[in-house]
């Protein structure tokens, strides 16, 4: 698994992830999100959830993708640990993601719950291609 770089934000939690493609960086960001909440590598991929979202920019799409996963955690009772995303640029100002997340019901003894994410902020938000690597930076309100 690609490493998650944790940022030094004074009040909340931020992370940077790198991906080989825009799809990969969305998947890595989802993993980073759940790593703020649980021991993400201990989550078994038992149940799938699919989502389809659109937004006017990649940054907005990232916020929508991650905030949807946060909501689904409560709506389904699952924590997620494995992700697959397909991101498309439909038009100049419209991006779409079709994403799958796999997880299981939370078990404190295995998943070691950490922080509850209250929201995905725009502070310092980045989704960008640098050279041949995609990079995402996200700060979440806990």
């Amino acid at each position: 698994m690609a490493p998650i770089e944790w940022l030094d934000h004074v009040a909340d939690i931020g992370f940077r992830v790198v991906g080989s493609s825009v799809d990969d960086v969305f998947e890595q960001a989802a993993r980073g999100l759940f790593a703020t909440m649980v021991d993400v590598d201990a989550v078994q991929p038992m149940t799938a959830h699919r989502t389809e979202l659109s937004a006017a920019s990649l940054e907005d799409l990232m916020v929508n993708w991650l905030s949807d996963l946060v909501a689904q955690k409560e709506l389904t009772g699952l924590v997620f640990g494995r992700f697959r995303a397909h991101v498309e640029e439909e038009t100049a100002k419209r991006f779409r993601v079709v994403g799958d997340a796999w997880g299981e019901p939370i078990e404190a003894r295995r998943h070691h719950p950490r922080n509850e994410v209250k929201g995905i902020s725009y502070l310092g938000l980045k989704v960008e291609l640098r050279g041949d690597r995609w990079r995402a930076q996200v700060i979440v309100d806990v």
Binding site: W6, L7, D8, H9, V10, A11, D12, I13, M37, V38, D60, V63, N64, S67, V70, A71, E74, L75, G77, V79, I106, A108, H112, P113, R114, N115, E116, K118, G119, I120, S121, Y122, L123, G124, L125, D141, V142
Partner: protein, 468 residues
């Protein structure tokens, strides 16, 4: 950026804090609290100044400890001035118990509170509501729960807004926000939320303390939590709505979290109606946990329920219409307080009748192992900060640094050695919330006193802490 500020920025802080703020400002400006003070000052309709209080640290759009007042007709309402945890706040409850009564029973009471109050990621409340019942809760707040038997009428009389914000419209809240909340009523959450069994260690203003029903050696309980998933989803939903609104109205916001719309616009009105729902959800949440705490103290120690009183319940992430005197003229303003409480001085109609002489209590939460404070507002503070006060110590270390520096189990055992028992669902969370990760609350309270915006009334020390 400085050239676009419509009003000055005013920061109340001691010298050491100010040096730290200036050092951050000279470096990475997107995470500079002073830059956020400047950014708020650019917003349309802002009145007098963009303010920040002694517990200032970087937030989202607004700094934490930030206050912005806007003309009720010409100004805007700003999502970042409320944040994701709408009406996060503190409820303080007093008991007839003394230190001698509680010390033999701390373990039993703490264990029962840990068992009975759901806290931490993934936990659910006992109340199971239908969507219609949740809509009722969003309209009625704590009042709705009291009418269902979850508490006493006296609780509402000692609650900001009497436990119910006017203007709540459940139609302004998404179904997703409501569905997320259905199982979270009465849950504590995690992070910096807590339930503490405390002792009133020191009374610093005997007349005000007596009016608040507090005395030395008294056992009290503090509950710090907010609007849970519903508030979080409202914040997330309206960040998008208000971003589009800002674009529609031609507002060039410096930061996305300062997404805003005119107060008098359709988007502005709907956001305020949704925020009122979030506020009522938080009041109801603290009412439910307060009621459960009352039940535990009754069952473990035989205290009469009516003798466990709500001293006050106050929020620190809110937006409210208030009348204030500006340049000699009474004006209706929309006051955003982000990580800041109301701190009204004597004689304001918003304060409970029993507290009119001194103003309502201001509840300033500590963190595990540190003191909490009860303060009171001042007439001077009404003029300086639109009657706004501090809410807590503010963080000094990032969660990353705190998790590296502290080990949860060690923090728990160190505090136990000092007579403070911790029950926590997340040892890592305990590390991140270690006392050393926060600024010195004594300094924050001293700075607020020196600035003339509040006066200390009582200091409370924790005996037992429940964490998510």
């Amino acid at each position: 950026m400085r050239g676009r500020m419509r009003v000055p920025g005013i920061v109340f802080a001691d010298r050491e804090s100010m040096d730290g703020l200036l050092a951050d400002d000279a470096g990475e400006t997107q995470w500079s609290a002073l830059q956020q003070v400047r950014n708020v000052a650019t917003l349309p309709g802002i009145v007098t100044a963009s303010l920040a209080l002694p517990d200032i640290h970087p937030g989202y759009g607004f700094p934490i400890g930030g206050v912005g007042a806007f003309d009720a007709e010409q100004g805007v309402v700003v999502v970042g001035g409320v944040g994701f945890d709408i009406n996060c706040g503190v409820r303080l409850m007093s008991t007839p118990l003394s230190r001698a009564d509680i010390e033999p029973a701390v373990e039993a009471v703490g264990r029962e509170l840990y068992r009975k109050v759901p806290a931490g990621l993934g936990t659910e409340g006992e109340l199971r509501l239908s969507m219609e019942e949740l809509d009722e809760l969003l309209r009625e707040g704590a009042r709705g729960l009291v009418s269902r038997g979850y508490g006493l009428d006296d609780d509402l009389e000692h609650c900001e807004e009497n436990g119910r914000m006017d203007g709540a419209d459940p139609d302004a809240v998404s179904d997703r926000a409501k569905q997320r909340q259905l199982r979270q009523v009465g849950t504590l959450g995690s992070g910096n939320h807590y339930l503490e069994l405390q002792i009133v260690e020191d009374v610093l203003d005997s007349a005000a303390a007596a009016a608040y029903g507090l005395h030395t050696d008294q056992v009290a309980v503090s509950i710090h939590t907010g609007s849970r998933a519903l508030g979080h989803q409202i914040g997330q939903d309206y960040l998008a709505v208000m971003s589009r609104a800002a674009h529609r109205f031609g507002f060039e916001t410096v930061e996305r979290e300062l997404a805003c719309a005119p107060i008098e616009s359709e988007e502005g009105r709907r956001y305020l109606a949704a925020v009122a729902c979030g506020a009522n959800c938080a009041f109801a949440n603290r009412q439910a946990i307060g009621h459960r705490t009352r039940q535990v103290l009754t069952s473990v120690l035989g205290v009469k329920p009516s003798e466990i009183r709500t001293v006050y319940d106050i929020g620190h992430n809110n937006v409210k219409f208030e009348m204030h005197r500006v340049d000699g003229v009474e004006r209706r303003l929309l006051i955003h307080r982000k990580g800041s409480t109301r701190a009204f001085g004597p004689g304001r109609p918003e304060s409970p009748e029993a507290y009119q002489r001194f103003g309502h209590p201001i509840l300033v939460g500590g963190t595990m192992g540190t003191s909490s404070y009860v303060l009171r507002g001042t007439t001077e503070g009404m003029a300086k900060t639109f009657g706004s006060g501090v809410h807590g110590a503010g963080r000094a270390l990032s969660r990353k640094k705190a998790a590296k520096k502290y080990w949860g189990e060690t923090v728990i055992s160190d505090l136990a050695a000092r007579g403070i028992r911790i029950w926590a669902h997340s040892p890592r969370g305990v590390a991140e919330e270690a006392p050393g990760a926060y600024k010195d609350i004594e300094r924050v309270v001293r700075a607020a006193t020196a600035a003339g915006i509040s006066r200390p009334v009582a200091r409370l020390r924790p005996l037992a802490v429940i964490k998510g």
